[in-house]
Subunit: 156 residues, 2 copies
DNA sequence: CTTGAAAAACGTGATGT
DNA sequence: ACATCACGTTTTTCAAG
């Protein structure tokens, strides 16, 4: 048994890349529209996309919502130097708090890096107080986001 | 002239939130499916979603692709303390490099925080060398990502 | 992968409450 | 703001090439 996963390599030919770009740009394009873009028929495109999903190349389709419209007008990155043995607790806390947008375990002086949203400085402060229970924190406020959600291309 | 934007407040009732959750979970759901989920008809749902897009509440629909499958097996956050007057140059560089996934202007000792992808440590090192032209850098390698792409709920 | 075809599901616009 | 209906389109599944 050679491969466990059907290796997405053959999916990344010219047409596959074209499809991947289009779906990153607009995930709600119909198969018929996609077919017109890449010069195939709709069933052929549907099968390609289905294989991209099955191999895990495409992990899902997400609506991108305006955080500010939901009240999260500010963004911050918080580095946490966890107290010994509190890693699991911090991860559970991060998973429970809707304000925690991302949570990464990292190498270096701190062991975690969180991306958090907050309505205002008071809200952010409350979060930081809660986080300080797990370790020393260092936070960095985002002034303006210059770039996000880039369309990815293959590097390998 | 009261409001310039038709204020998405009325879009965030129970049904609106339900729709928003579903579309964050699976952006390719049909209007008919969405209608069944929330208990409305398809045309009603289509109009609601169209208004969510028009008001900017929904900013788009993106396919989420597996970065590792595209060759970007490692992720790092890089803080850059830019040299005086080089901010615009750094922003242009960040926009040009496909490896730069996010670029934020931040408050604190450093003025920029970048999220970058790379194929391996050599690739990452090449990036850091290029970035060092714009200022002093401090990079943090991601070991494992515990949380990302959370479904957002309103806070206001 | 294409073509063709057929059935089910879907999107859209008009109309009415 | 929503329901209903009607029409055209899309999706899906087959077949055969």
């Amino acid at each position: 048994m050679p491969d466990r996963t059907p290796s997405p390599l053959d999916l990344l030919d010219d047409i596959g890349l074209h499809l991947l770009r289009e779906l990153q740009r607009d995930a709600r394009l119909s198969f018929a529209d996609l077919a017109r873009q890449v010069g195939l028929t709709a069933p052929a495109v549907a099968e390609r996309v289905r294989r991209m999903e099955a191999t895990g190349l495409i992990q899902g389709y997400r609506a991108e919502v305006n955080r500010a419209a939901l009240g999260l007008r500010m963004t911050a990155f918080v580095r946490v130097r966890t107290h010994p043995g509190r890693d699991a607790e911090l991860e559970r806390f991060a998973a429970e708090q809707r304000e925690v947008l991302e949570c990464h375990e990292v190498a270096g002086e701190e062991s975690y890096l969180l991306k958090v949203g907050a309505t205002d400085v008071h809200h952010l402060n409350r979060l930081l107080v809660l986080l300080s229970a797990f370790g020393a924190t260092h936070s960095t406020m985002v002034l303006t986001t210059k770039l996000t959600g880039r369309v990815l291309e293959p590097f390998a």
